[in-house]
Amino acid sequence: MDAPALRHGAMFDTNELELNMGPQHPSTHGVLRVVLRLDGEKVVDADVVIGYLHRGIEKLSENRNYTQIVLLTDRMDYVAAATNNVGYCETVEKLMAIEVPRRARYVRTIVCELQRIASHCLWVGTHAMDIGAMTVFLYAFRERELILDLFEELCGARLTYNSQRIGGLPLDIPPGWDRKVLAFVEVMTGKVEEYEALLTENRIWLERTKGVGVIEGPEAIALGLSGPPLRGSGVPRDIRKDEPYAAYDEMQFEVPLGKAGDTYDRYVVRMEEFRQSLRIIRQAAEGIPEGPVVGKVPRLIKPPAGETYHAIESPKGELGYFVVSDGKSTNPYRFRVRPPSFCNLQALRRLCRGHLVADVVALIGSLDVVLGEVDR
């Protein structure tokens, strides 16, 4: 038996091991499959496979009229459904140049910020759970329940809200709803301190997140990151400030920025966003004006021929809608959604090179992706 070719340095059984993470995996937040090529414990390459939750929302919407599409947008980012509704309705209002009354814009701001808090609650719960801290998950979901109750009162549903209409709101807010929102804000401010007490100075948490998945500003922009992952790298990009929509131009709030662009900074940015959202909600709920909640909208919505792209700041990042209308039919000719999770997830391959398997789990958590939005 001749000696096999002397493979210099090739370890006996740790040539590149391929590990399939998902699509059925506890920490991939939905049906996401990551094919990891490992050299020993280090990740050499991570090929992200998506498409398991593709329902063809864009193709479906070309066969529905403008009012029915609001339902479809609920099912994309099901963690922050109301934000999708607001985004879509604003795009069509921009297309038809409809002026939305101030009261509706205030309610929309409150709804968007409540959704941001609910989404961040779910994020901090699952992210901490992936890294081992079980308790934060329960606390975060206790608070999220409060928000779901508020939405149940506003639009009767807890997950798929269908909370907006083109031109404003379907119904005025129930009496006393804004006082309930203010009560929620009082409760929530204390609770954010609770999460931070458990995690922010926790040595093990720091060791698991500091320096993991570092990405600088320019590269983050080039990779198309948006929202907290982009601001975690220090890029001051927030559509609520740059291209204010709803009633954000009348709100005072800061945009938290990270420094090193690692998982810890993304964590700190989102925790700070909790507080900023509460601040916005307090201002909006206190200053909500009287007046109608629906603008002048023709009974049959048929936008003029033309196309537009309108983006809003969803909890995950820049959520953009590109609607093309042919001016003749009540269905959009082309309906395209730019999902933030889709572009943020693309960075996973670059981020987890050279890290360990345990870090990949932390990175997926820190990018905060929702597969309903990625696959559409």
Binding site: M134, T135, L198, I204, R208, A358
Partner: protein, 341 residues
């Protein structure tokens, strides 16, 4: 006749059954305590306040189908849980629950036996426990459990070194290996070694957390990364054995810690005279209270702390705990020699 055969037999029976009951109720205690920290109730359905839950779990695991993966090494597959459970139980032979007590005229020492290599006996039996994990990973004949079992055993062995070094510094203080004489030395010195050797106590606590694969060091069973760790392929009674072995080890570690650092059956603050009233409570109750406190901290740590990554865990073991333990040992030796001179 009675003293030589009947009493030891009764003691053995009592200790074994008490341990098995304690282990199953440890499971319930853990679920309840973690539930309370997470502002929820924990198991409430079986029996009043979920008290009968362990029995329900035991029955469930017994009834469940016991699957052996195809082409798995059948013998080794069955042997592994037994190997991991047995050491945890036989360690109780040397743990002193209380001083010698006279019942119905017979002097009954409240420990099964007292051999003069007591502490070494515990450490060596614990080191044999590693086989259970390695063989479980090997016998399940699939990639993930193999990886998980290698990592788990590497973690166990490296933390065993740190724990043994802390035990040596306690032996240095007590001057003997036998557990009973260690407690007597603490009684005679009228101080708990936990106060005299705080560093050793801390290292022992962290090391024992890692040794029992718990809390921040539960890498091997980390469901999030490798799917389920070394007992993925186990189900039914065999899985129950593994599950109970982990809790039995936890109780073993806490009773050893109580004996070495918290003064066994001594009442708190033995040096404070006017606390004499505490003596009314018999010694073994003190022992149980102290180990319960230690167990409670185990569970509390699990509820709050996130998990270390595997390389950080090994780095902490080798580069932090072992040097500190050696330092502590040398310091104790110097103090002892200087004290004697």
């Amino acid at each position: 006749m009675i003293d030589t055969f009947v009493i030891p037999l009764v003691k053995i029976l009592v200790v074994l059954n008490a341990t098995l009951v304690a282990v199953s109720y440890m499971v319930l205690l853990e679920r309840k305590v973690i539930a309370w920290t997470q502002s929820r109730l924990g198991p409430m359905r079986v029996g009043p306040y979920g008290v009968l839950q362990p029995i329900a779990d035991a029955i469930k695991l017994m009834i469940k189908e016991d699957i052996t993966p195809v082409r798995a090494d059948r013998w080794v597959f069955t042997l592994a849980p037994i190997i991991s459970m047995v050491p945890a139980l036989i360690v109780y032979a040397v743990i002193p629950f209380g001083p010698t007590v006279t019942i119905f005229g017979h002097a009954v020492p409240l420990y099964v036996t007292d051999i003069n290599v007591g502490l070494l006996y515990i450490v060596s039996v614990a080191s044999v426990g590693v086989y259970g994990i390695i063989l479980a990973g090997y016998a399940s004949n699939s990639k993930y459990p193999l990886l998980a079992s290698l990592r788990a055993s590497a973690q166990l062995i490296s933390y065993e070194v740190a724990v043994t070094l802390t035990l040596v510094s306690v032996i240095l203080m007590a001057g003997s290996l036998s557990m009973v004489s260690i407690v007597l030395a603490q009684e005679q010195a009228r101080v708990w070694y936990g106060f005299v050797q705080p560093l050793a106590f801390g290292i022992f606590f962290i090391g024992s957390l890692a040794e029992t694969n718990r809390a921040p060091f539960d890498m091997p069973e980390a469901e999030q990364e490798l799917t389920g760790g070394f007992h993925t392929e186990y189900s039914g009674m065999r899985f129950a054995l593994f599950f109970l072995a982990e809790y039995a080890n936890m109780i073993v570690v806490s009773s050893v810690a109580t004996t070495l650092f918290l003064g066994g059956w001594l009442r708190p603050f033995p040096n404070v005279a006017w606390l004499g009233v505490l003596d009314l409570i018999p010694g073994w109750i003190w022992f149980l209270v102290k180990s319960f406190v230690f167990l409670y901290i185990f569970i509390w740590v699990r509820a709050t702390l996130p998990r270390y990554r595997y390389d950080q865990l090994m780095r902490l073991g080798w580069k932090v705990l072992i040097p500190l333990a050696i330092l502590n040992l040398v310091a104790t030796a110097i103090v002892k020699v200087w004290w004697l001179a």
